[in-house]
């Protein structure tokens, strides 16, 4: 299991458990994300608070999940990214593709605005 999931009404909080979001767990992460989308949640807030390191394989799985989610009216937010992880997303400009917030509260505020 890669994600620890907490469901609040139609919003899913999904915390990535491993410290390394990498080739070793990218496929499993993708499967778990797609399962959540299929279950019909409105928003998945992916919590990166445990993640110290991310690679291209895991980023690829995130993009696949978002491509799967959008036609199904599900959105994906990313929260609690550590500076090194955030900087890599910025480098490849994925900060323009994903909505990124400091924490769950900020993500919920954005949703309710």
């Amino acid at each position: 299991m890669i994600l620890q999931v907490n469901q609040v009404q139609d919003i899913t909080q999904a915390t990535i458990l491993p410290e390394e979001a990498s080739l070793a767990n990218a496929d499993k992460f993708k499967e778990e994300m797609i399962t959540l989308i299929v279950e019909g949640t409105k928003l998945i807030i992916v919590n990166f608070e445990n993640v110290n390191y991310i690679d291209s394989s895991f980023l690829g799985s995130l993009v696949v999940a978002l491509k799967y989610a959008m036609p199904r009216k599900t959105d994906i937010y990313l929260v609690a990214l550590k500076p090194d992880v955030r900087n890599l997303l910025t480098l490849i400009r994925m900060d323009k593709v994903f909505k990124i917030y400091k924490n769950f509260d900020q993500a919920m505020d954005a949703l309710n605005q």
Binding site: E20, S22, L23, A24, Y53, D55, S56, S57, L59, G60, S61, V63, V64, L66, K67, M70, D84, N87, L88, L91, I92, R93, M94, K96, V97
Partner: protein
């Protein structure tokens, strides 16, 4: 004669399950080596990202169990080379065209599109039949959701090209040696 003020080589596993441990060894070497302490902290992060992707690329595509890494310092540049005797580089370019090394004459001295991610396009230029360099070009502002449609799920080569200041590939046809070389400007 090579004018490197520092040069050290390591032989590593080229297997996917060893990427994390090899990366740790490389980064520890960078931190412990007196000569490599000249590498600024912000560039160390870029080195880590590029090394990670070189290792993943090798594990996925090289088809060998071992790889050599060379760390070099010359003037104000950190140069890292990843060398193996596995499969030569092969890319799908311009949509579905196959580009493989050594590059055939009709495909020399040309730019090819490798893939797009968001607002960047990764391209490769075939300098000779045995060498090429990667470059990234910015795409005009595109907004979501079109941005997502234009985004590939592949990021490895893009990360290397954007994290480093120069990224090349070369093939020695006689020996079958592949060299991916990344250069960082430390100035």
């Amino acid at each position: 004669m090579n004018n490197y003020r520092y040069q050290k080589s390591f032989q590593f596993s080229n297997k996917a399950e060893d990427v994390s441990s090899v990366l740790s060894i490389c980064m520890k070497h960078m931190q412990d080596s007196e000569e490599l302490r000249v590498v600024p902290e912000d560039i160390q992060s870029r080195v880590k990202w590029a090394l990670t992707e070189l290792l993943i690329n090798g594990a996925k595509h090289a088809g060998t169990t071992e790889t050599l890494f060379h760390f070099k310092l010359r003037e104000k540049f950190l140069i890292i080379e990843k060398e193996d005797f596995g499969n030569p580089l092969f890319l799908k370019v311009n949509g579905s065209q196959r580009l493989s090394w050594p590059v055939a004459a009709p495909f020399l001295n040309q730019h090819f599109d490798v893939y797009e991610n968001g607002m960047d396009s990764l391209r490769i230029y075939t300098e000779t039949s045995n060498s090429a360099f990667f470059l990234v070009e910015e795409i005009e502002d595109v907004e979501m959701p079109e941005l997502l449609i234009n985004t590939s799920e592949h990021f490895g080569l893009m990360i290397i090209a954007k994290a480093s200041d120069h990224f090349t590939y070369s093939l020695d046809q006689q020996t079958g040696r592949n060299i991916f070389r990344i250069t960082f400007n430390l100035a």
